[in-house]
């Protein structure tokens, strides 16, 4: 007999993880593409334009699969998690509805961008590309707002009346557009998604440089530009990420100290709490990072009643540690690589690490490949930590002190009350999982087939000889200037 409580959670986790695999690209690729396009125009460089054009095709494919998976989740919500969806629809549906607007805007601008290379002016075309990124990021923000509401529904309805009578009163839909937890979650999601997107691009270009056989000069130039651009963007975003991560931790402790204790694995309430990462314990660091006071008291599980403690806290805690570790390593690596590109003297100082020529030397390329793609693991584990760390509640509530001095959480809905117990979900759920697996496996195959007969060289030469024409402007790349740029560049080699 299958435990449907476990299976429904697995199904939701699996579908969501698959969907999220595409979301960070949806949020980051448009910006990468538009910046490549801008650099192409600014530097009269056909390689950047080739990057923009080729990745725009990839973006369309990833968008199609990602949105199909989004539709699958939407249907799972109203079937496998209908009780949660009922409460959400009654109180917190506004972010979903606005998200539909953002999604439609994204679709419109995607269509205009993809088919508008020869129909709009340069600035207008780049603006369209930016709007895809803004639409996609806004979609991510709005969905995360639902998550924030699930963590802190305070203000959107009268929770104490609901807990006493079960009546939904004083509903304020506008409050759902910025729940308290959004202060920490939104910057984290934006910075994280962009970082994973740019990081995975670093991983992709490094992989190409390392493992593509018989790379011609065109391909090398193309990958080098992609690698540098992705590294710069990741390094820039890492600054935002560092702040967002710190802010998310502080906000979490302020709003949900129990969830914070779960993620950090704090069992005992103590002053001057140490930071525990695997076997390493750094005295007072957790207190300091959380409050700027190294001696501050941090609430642990010992301050909470047993019934609200996460039964699988270790999973959330380990996932959180992995997430944070990979993110921090990722940021440091991207900063070092970007510094090596920007400041050749810095690179030469660390030539023993291959930083004197990071686009060609194997060590930085391998590091870029591993750490770049590891951000995907950081993304998924971060999400696991956030979701598992919320247990046993699917919708939280305020924290209150009980008569014996311990704290409890007056949760609105327990996860164990929200799932669909019908065993018929199992068979269909397995079929959905298989269909999703097929979609994920088919995506790279489809991308490979799309680019099978479309060599980089061919794209670069096409752009060089017949640059995209724009209605109100001069052609982007004059033949002579492109040729001279190429001569200069190739002459150096």
């Amino acid at each position: 007999m299958v435990d449907m409580f476990v299976f429904d959670r697995l199904l939701a986790a699996y579908t969501m993880a698959a969907h999220m695999f595409f979301t960070y690209w949806a949020m980051s690729l448009p910006f990468f593409i538009v910046i490549a396009e801008y650099l192409g125009y600014k530097k009269n460089d056909p390689y950047y334009l080739a990057l923009a054009k080729r990745f725009a095709i990839a973006m369309a494919v990833l968008f199609a699969v990602g949105s199909a998976l989004g539709a699958a989740i939407a249907v799972e919500f109203i079937t496998a998690w209908y009780k949660w969806m009922f409460i959400t629809s009654e109180v917190d549906i506004l972010p979903f509805e606005v998200e539909v607007l953002a999604f439609f805007t994204e679709v419109i601008f995607l269509a205009l961008y993809l088919y508008g290379w020869d129909k709009f002016g340069r600035k207008a075309h780049m603006a369209l590309g930016s709007l895809i990124g803004i639409g996609a990021s806004l979609s991510g923000v709005l969905i995360t707002l639902v998550n924030s509401w699930m963590n802190t529904p305070q203000g959107s309805f009268d929770i104490s009346t609901y807990l006493q009578t079960g009546q939904l009163t004083d509903i304020n839909p506008l409050a759902t557009l910025w729940p308290p937890a959004a202060n920490g979650e939104i910057p984290m999601v934006l910075a994280g998604a962009w970082f994973v997107g740019f990081g995975s691009l670093v991983g992709y270009f490094s992989f190409r440089k390392l493992f593509s056989k018989n790379l011609d000069t065109y391909s090398k130039e193309y990958y080098n530009r992609g690698l540098k651009l992705a590294t710069y963007l990741a390094a820039l975003d890492a600054i935002f990420l560092a702040w967002a991560g710190d802010n998310a931790g502080k906000e979490l402790y302020k709003l949900q100290p129990l969830k914070f204790a779960t993620l950090e694995g704090v069992m005992q309430t103590q002053a001057g709490a140490p930071m525990q990462v695997g076997p390493i314990s750094i005295p007072k660091l957790l207190s300091f990072l959380t409050t700027w006071n190294p001696n501050a008291v941090i609430l642990g599980y010992s301050s909470f009643v047993k019934s609200v403690q996460d039964p699988i806290w270790w999973l959330a805690h380990d996932a959180y540690d992995l997430h944070a570790t990979l993110g921090i390593i990722g940021a440091i690596v991207m900063w070092i690589l970007a510094a090596a590109y920007l400041f050749p003297r810095f690179g030469k100082t660390f030539s023993w690490l291959g930083l004197d020529n990071p686009t060609e030397r194997k060590l930085p390329l391998y590091v870029g490949l591993i750490i770049g793609w590891a951000q995907f693991i950081a993304w998924e584990t971060g999400w696991i930590a956030a979701e598992v760390g919320r247990q046993p509640f699917v919708i939280w509530g305020p924290m209150v002190q009980t008569s014996n001095g311990l704290y409890t959480v007056e949760g609105v809905l327990l996860t164990s009350e929200a799932y669909n117990p019908n065993p018929d979900v199992f068979g269909i759920g397995i079929a959905i999982m298989i269909a999703i697996a097929i979609a994920i496996i088919a995506t790279p195959i489809m991308l490979k087939r799309l680019f099978a007969n479309r060599e980089i060289k061919q794209d670069v030469i096409t752009i060089t000889t017949s640059p995209p024409s724009f209605s109100s402007q001069t052609p982007i790349t004059k033949q002579s200037s492109i040729s001279s740029t190429k001569q200069k560049r190739f002459g150096k080699r």
Partner: protein
């Protein structure tokens, strides 16, 4: 009638219309000389992706936002069909998309093969969608664990959240798959839908040599829609036959069939899409906002109700009002904005290209 019903029927009618255009591409193979219409059809399918990707999302979110308590019906009675539908729909899109991709690459026979493979998936999507639709309106297959009057009272007093809070394991509905799938209303209505798709395709592509087939399919569609509603949804039937708008709609369907197959009527595709959309909306109006009709009418008649009013299933007022504004804007974007962009960017240039190609030949 509860006007919010329209917030369900607008996205539903739109989804149905878009689905018919897509399904029509598969219907083309058995009903006409496929090769003669292949290029037109592929242009159409290739122009639809943005509309297709948005129409289902709009439908689901509109349902969530407008009728929150219906989540209990979707989660307890309709989940099997809904989840099966999403899988089949994915394969349906995949095969039709692959057919379009193969055609773009000049692999016409592969493209045709994909369309043939897509056929059972298209039929299944239509059937499962139809099953959901007929179940909700007739009530077949949606069993009640609690007495109907109790459920109605709970909904009327807005006590569903209280039940969820105090007794979260309370089950209100249960699925009766045999009744849901094998009831005659479902099958008769489904055949009517298939007939309408045949008619739709003949008009959409202006297939002159299949005028008679189109007329026959349309007549059958109308006859079956009327017969099925007369037998199982008399409320809808009576509203329709007593409404001049319905008869004007019937006349227009025949007129459009003739005009699109015998004359070069401009905006042919737009007219048939608009007519189909209007047909869907009319059905919504004719339900007068009542659902679960056939299975509840005898119980509710003593209370003076023809069936369960869908107003009982509305989301709470503040959320509903805020959401309605957003859904209306989203409707404008999805029905207007995305369609306009798809027409201007995908369809028009492709048709122009095809014309140039034909003239060059």
């Amino acid at each position: 009638m509860n006007p919010y019903v329209l917030f369900f029927f607008i996205p539903l009618s739109w989804f149905v219309t878009v689905f018919m255009i897509e399904a029509g591409s598969v219907v083309m193979i058995p009903i006409c000389k496929y090769e003669n219409y292949r290029e037109q059809m592929m242009i159409m399918v290739g122009s639809l992706w943005a509309i297709i990707s948005t129409s289902l999302v709009y439908l689901v979110v509109a349902l969530d936002g407008t009728f929150a308590p219906i989540m209990y019906a979707t989660g307890e009675a309709l989940f099997g069909v809904l989840l099966a539908l999403i899988i089949i729909l994915a394969f349906h899109h995949f095969f039709i998309g692959s057919a379009e991709g193969a055609d773009t690459l000049g692999k016409h026979s592969t493209s045709k093969l994909y369309l043939i493979v897509a056929m059972p998936f298209v039929l299944l999507v239509a059937f499962l969608g139809n099953t959901l639709f007929t179940s909700v309106f007739s009530g077949y297959g949606i069993g009640l664990k609690l007495p109907l009057t109790t459920v109605a009272t709970v909904l009327e007093k807005g006590e569903l959240p209280a039940i969820l809070h105090s007794a979260p394991n309370t089950q209100i509905f249960y699925p009766n798959y045999v009744q849901m799938i094998f009831n005659p209303f479902n099958w008769v209505f489904f055949i009517a839908v298939v007939m309408y798709v045949v008619y739709f395709t003949v008009v959409f592509y202006g297939i002159k040599e299949r005028f008679l087939l189109g007329a026959l399919a349309l007549t059958l569609a109308h006859a079956l829609f009327l017969a099925s509603t007369a037998l199982w949804l008399p409320l809808v039937f009576n509203s329709a036959v007593g409404n001049a708008g319905f008869w004007i709609f019937v006349i227009l369907t025949y007129a459009l069939l003739y005009l699109s197959t015998h004359t070069n009527i401009p905006w042919r595709q737009v007219w048939i899409a608009a007519l189909t959309f209007a047909g869907g909306m009319m059905f919504g109006v004719f339900t007068q906002g009542y659902i679960l009709y056939d299975t509840t009418r005898s119980t509710l008649a003593p209370l003076g109700l023809p069936a369960v009013p869908s107003s009982l299933l509305l989301t709470v007022q503040p959320t509903l009002i805020a959401g309605t504004i957003v859904l209306a804007v989203a409707g404008l974007l999805v029905l207007g904005g995305i369609s306009a962009v798809s027409y201007k960017l995908f369809y028009k240039p492709a048709v122009k290209k095809l014309k140039t190609k034909t003239e060059t030949k």
